[in-house]
Symmetry: C2
Amino acid sequence: MTKQVAVAIVGATGAVGSTIMERLVSRNFPVKSIKFLASARSAGKPIEFNDETHTIEEAKPEAFEGVDVAFFSAGGSVSEALAEEAAKRGAVVIDNTSHFRMAPNVPLVVPEVNRGALKEHNGIIANPNCSTIQMVAALQPLRAAYGLTSVIVSTYQAVSGSGIAAINELKQQSSEWEKGKDVEASVLPVKGDKKHFPIARNVIPQIDVFEENGFTKEEMKMINETKKIMSMPDLHVAATCVRVPVVTGHSESVYIELEQEATKEQVFEALRTAPGLVLQDDITAQGYPMPIFAEGEDPVYVGRIRQDLSNKRGWHLWIVADNLLKGAALNSIQIAEAMLEDNLL
Amino acid sequence: MTKQVAVAIVGATGAVGSTIMERLVSRNFPVKSIKFLASARSAGKPIEFNDETHTIEEAKPEAFEGVDVAFFSAGGSVSEALAEEAAKRGAVVIDNTSHFRMAPNVPLVVPEVNRGALKEHNGIIANPNCSTIQMVAALQPLRAAYGLTSVIVSTYQAVSGSGIAAINELKQQSSEWEKGKDVEASVLPVKGDKKHFPIARNVIPQIDVFEENGFTKEEMKMINETKKIMSMPDLHVAATCVRVPVVTGHSESVYIELEQEATKEQVFEALRTAPGLVLQDDITAQGYPMPIFAEGEDPVYVGRIRQDLSNKRGWHLWIVADNLLKGAALNSIQIAEAMLEDNLL
């Protein structure tokens, strides 16, 4: 019999938290008990889960007593303040923020890629960045079969990665079509940054703030997290991250170099049989992944697969997934499911 | 005194043809006389140019008698039928279609890159594909200074590249926001292809039809035309071409490898001083090119320039230009201007 789990959700009202709640139910996660934790301001308010009304409690250290798994998605500062307190009280924290991702003693996990890292946890597991998760899920089967030496990715990222305010901004701007470049913008590219630009009818080559080396934080996340998840510190990874006027579903144009040569049939077969992936590549029927069709779906879709014309070890891939599901909530729950199966909970 | 030129425009009512007309006036091109040629169906209709009303004539071989320069943008079949007839009668044809681009005896020209090729013409000059023009314009100064060995590009292409029907489709779908993936689609990705997909809230990794090797025709144009324009048959070029919900302005995420190492200052300087380029790269002020601000502007904008973190000869660029101007009409007129200056007309 599966162990029944005492769950806590920190940040239940956000885009990721509410998707975690929905997927816990739809995946029949063995919830023994559940509590919803938020700031003192929200404590006492009602919240619906699986057709029952619960009351939000204040997120403070003692609230984690008796909790088996705590899903955190309330921002880096909340994770910083409370994740270690929760772990101290015996909860396993699955953290959706970037706060602990690069900490050496915190596993950064996509179960299809590095499930084995879970057993080295010290009470906190980090869920990777959305754009990283879908990419490594598609790279892993190719790396396992043929080795991997280089990854160059350009992203086409949906606005829902920036939260509900960004979705509303795109919607508002889209209905003000005729105003062109003069539409109001106050959220994208980065809520707290100096300037804001329209996203409707536009693409913005900035996600998160800039670092001194000219890359954005989002780009550095993709570079550093990919190396950590795949345990390949010397892998060549480069990223250009771009926001596009799509609501949900991140797309990625990825060029990779394999260590060994492979045939197209071999590459297709490796991707077709990999867990969590759907191969969608049929050029005669215009079959390829697109974000509008990935929205609300669990898998990572891969298509437009073709061998480079100059480099036999070079391959081009087009990878699409729902950034709120496999990119966030779903992967968090899959981490908990893997830990249950592996008797780590 | 500048020579006065007898001009003919074939396809004046299309998106490119009308932009050519507008720019001939705004750039004070020395028009001695102008005629507008179209199918028999349109012959006799009035057309406005520079505040005067002209009458459209039927495009037939004799119509090119006495013409110095004929701009063709009425589709490949019209160019196939009439370009050589025009050239035979002494006109220099500047062809905006893809029909002659890869013909060995037809120069394929971006004046900033390979102006010298103009003097080898045999009556026909081909204007390259829009996404190719802006890329080679930005690559040329770096190639000239430091050599170039590899180019890997992912594009973010505007719908106006597919004509006015595609613009209207995006506009219509944007106003039907709430319908999601069920909005009507009948133009994109390719008018004559089997399936059509929504472009609002979506990105489509197909521009033009597929070739047997898995690349689209648009991708093969970028690969083959880049090698021809730069006279580098062995250059490694790879492309993934993607349509995004932008009206006008193509964007490109480009990874290149130079032959020699260069500093960031040297790369900036090469781009800053190159003709036709505007360097827009100031990460402290969120300064980078975006299509919404390139629309209606002549230059090719380059930004997000950064040295690769693993490869000192690797550089990342973000290149944006108006696909109807530098990508089509403007480049055609610049070809004619260069030929005038070089006494080739």
